[in-house]
Amino acid sequence: MPAFTPPPLPSDDKRWKIVNGTMRKNGFARHALIETLHTVQSAFGYLDDDSIRFVALSLRVPLSQAYGVVTFYHYFSLKPPGKHTMTICAGTACYIKGADKLIAAAEKRLGVARGQTTSDGQISLMTARCVGACSRAPVVLCDGAVAGEMAAEPMLEQLERWAVE
């Protein structure tokens, strides 16, 4: 059997080298699929067809299996994120403390449903299953930074600022 040669990098974008690094560290083993997809998403912000194809070919995983993994796990996104991301935690403690009202208010303000990005690409509205800051519920993540005991008003103010930033 001829030795396996991994496919060439999709472009000279330096981020592909980081992706390749993760796979090399794992000896291009198939079980590195999820690890590698994490690296792609943290480097590029999301997973597109080209990146899934590249990773699948490199790790000799069938395309169907790679796509199956990407769509199985909520953490992976097939769409590019907006410039800013408002993530509202929808865990139990946050729900008990009124996270649904925050979600409704944000959806109304942005005119998009949860999981979507505004048409100008400024703001993505996401929900999380639980970020583990339950003692400060309800919790939102403003571009990843935890803000606890959140009310609709300050959250909407943040969205207003982001709309023009």
């Binding site: 199985f72 403690a93 003692s135 400060r136």
Partner: protein, 550 residues
């Protein structure tokens, strides 16, 4: 590293700490961080530097009462300060050596007095990124003692004697599990730590991984020695980036000190640990799904047997325990099985960490002896329901658990007692609800969660949770009938009996327990078309007809 070297490090840590007259510990857990604990620490360091006093400013893991954060504890006086702002740094530093700062003093004696700290013994006392801090508090002593003075069977015997049961929620006897993996044949075995704390409303494991990561690693290494494994994986949720970074640092430090790697403590024992990231799938908390995920596949469970103890990760015998289970190992090895078995109740030994959240005054992390009454946790440690509202229910076990009503608050917390009332211990989420929560809506919330998180492999769970959701939505919308309620109950029984894995088998628990204890709320929605808590949006029939007429 040998025991003598370890003791040397511990001694030098003590000498180092003795150089300081005061220790100012700042809680840097997620909850305190979100309230500016990092700015506070900078301010304290600046003030300490300018004061000319001999002060050590240390960042620590979670101190417990998150609702009072940011928290600062001053040692040796053990003054606890709450809601501390960066502006308070000068006052705190100035008060050292004299009386405490009165306006910042935190009076939570009742909160702390009833707690017993085993898993959280180091929380608030060590810098999670400094291995020496951990060693200074007897860290890795249990591992090296086990390696040099105990046989693998001796270790398993000690764990069995302790009566420790799996802290992930299942409650399977840990010693028995270890014994099975130890007996399994095969050169290569794995130890896996389940840090996929997917249960929404629970954050005990996050706090342990972030606040005392070495404790988890030490527990895993002892387990590996006992069962004959040489490789370990910690599976952590991607939603916990701080835990991942602290564990990464801890593993690197442990390797550097020769506490992980080949020939640990000059013995033939080899063990190393790798981190694997979850990717947001609740079902991956189920052990066979978790193993599939580590193998880079979709996290779908498979039928058992074979159990992972016989054929697990990559087909090899695998020991899987939860974070908190591993966190209990080092103290048990150090203090003996009997010491641990002396705590707790008849069939549930030791302590349990709970994440106390929801409508309760003191939210945060608590560790209590098993057997303690729910009432004590909620009313004394938790400080009761705030703002003059009435306690309605406490939810344990997350989406797999149930809601326990007020009349059952005198129940002692144990695996069996909670199961007997239709809930489960679970991993330790404890969410308090008051009269503003609608129990039908709560059931709908959990069912929606399970529906979204069902992996889709088996029909009872995939289709059943969706049907439960439809029925509950109908009831919440005021369109349900009494027949729907009967149908819902029979559907629950079917799903419970026929699902493949724990997710499906326990998904009906929130529904059944709310129907059992809060049936009147269901009746109100169905018969009187009203939501007593005012949560569900039921259109009043009169208003609708008025609109139609207009």
């Amino acid at each position: 590293m040998t025991i003598e070297e370890l003791e040397q490090v511990a001694k030098s840590v003590c000498q180092e700490n003795d150089k300081y007259d005061f220790e100012v510990n700042v809680c840097m857990d997620l909850a305190c961080m979100s309230q500016g604990a990092d700015r506070l620490r900078d301010a304290l360091e600046k003030a300490a530097g300018a004061s000319g006093k001999n002060i050590l400013v240390r960042r620590t893991g979670c101190m417990g009462p998150c609702s009072s954060g940011p928290l600062v504890r001053v040692d040796p006086e053990e003054h606890l300060y709450h809601h501390v702002k960066a502006d308070n740094a000068d006052a705190i530093v100035a008060s050292l050596g004299g009386p405490p700062v009165p306006e910042l003093q935190c009076d939570l004696n009742d909160h702390f007095d009833r707690q017993v700290r085993v898993v959280l013994e180091n929380a608030g006392h060590i810098d999670p990124e400094k291995i020496d801090d951990y060693i200074g508090r007897d860290g890795y002593k249990a591992l090296l003692t086990a390696l040099t003075e105990m046989t693998p069977n001796g270790v398993i015997h000690r764990i069995t004697e302790s009566g420790l049961r799996g802290r992930g929620g299942g409650g399977y006897p840990t010693g028995l599990k270890w014994g099975t993996v130890a007996k399994a044949s095969g050169e290569l075995k794995y130890v896996v730590c389940n840090g996929d704390e997917g249960d929404p409303g629970a954050f005990m494991d996050r706090s342990v991984m972030e606040g005392d990561p070495h404790r988890v690693i030490e527990g895993m290494a002892i387990a590996a020695y006992a069962v004959g494994a040489s490789k370990g994986f910690i599976y952590v949720r991607a939603e916990y980036p701080v835990a991942v970074s602290r564990l990464t640092t801890a593993i690197r430090e442990a390797r550097r000190r020769g506490l992980l790697g080949n020939g640990i403590c000059n013995t033939p024992f080899n063990f190393d640990v790798e981190i694997r990231l979850g990717a947001g799938a609740f079902v991956c908390g189920e052990e066979t799904a978790l193993l599939a995920s580590i193998e880079g596949k979709r996290g779908t469970p498979r039928p058992r047997p074979p159990y992972p103890a016989v054929s697990g990760l990559f087909g090899k015998p695998t020991l899987i325990n939860n974070v908190e289970t591993f966190a209990n190992i080092a103290p048990i090895v150090r203090n003996g099985g009997k010491w641990f078995a002396n705590m707790g109740s008849e069939r549930s030994k030791g302590t349990k960490v709970f994440a106390l959240t929801g409508k309760i005054a003191n939210t945060g992390l608590v560790e209590v002896p098993m057997g303690i009454k729910l009432r004590e946790i909620i009313e004394v440690i938790g400080g009761g329901v705030p703002d003059g509202h009435q306690f309605k229910a406490v939810q344990t076990g997350g989406p797999s658990g149930g809601c326990i009503p007020a009349e059952m608050l005198d129940l002692g917390v144990s695996y069996d007692a909670l199961m007997a009332v239709g809930s489960i211990m679970g991993s330790g989420g404890m969410i308090v609800m008051d009269d503003t929560s609608c129990m039908v809506n709560v059931a709908k919330f959990f069912v929606e969660f399970c529906m979204t998180e069902s992996c889709g492999k088996c029909i009872p769970c995939r289709a059943g949770t969706a049907q439960m959701f439809t029925l509950l939505t109908r009831i919440c919308d005021g369109k349900g009938t009494m027949d729907d309620l009967d149908l819902l109950i029979s559907l629950c029984e079917t799903i419970k009996e026929t699902s493949l894995c724990g997710l499906g088998m326990t998904a009906p628990n929130p529904v059944l327990s709310t129907i059992k204890y809060f049936r009147n709320e269901y009746i109100e929605h169905i018969v009187h078309k009203r939501c007593p808590a005012g949560v569900c949006n039921i259109e009043a029939p009169a208003a609708v007809s008025a609109e139609v007429l207009a």
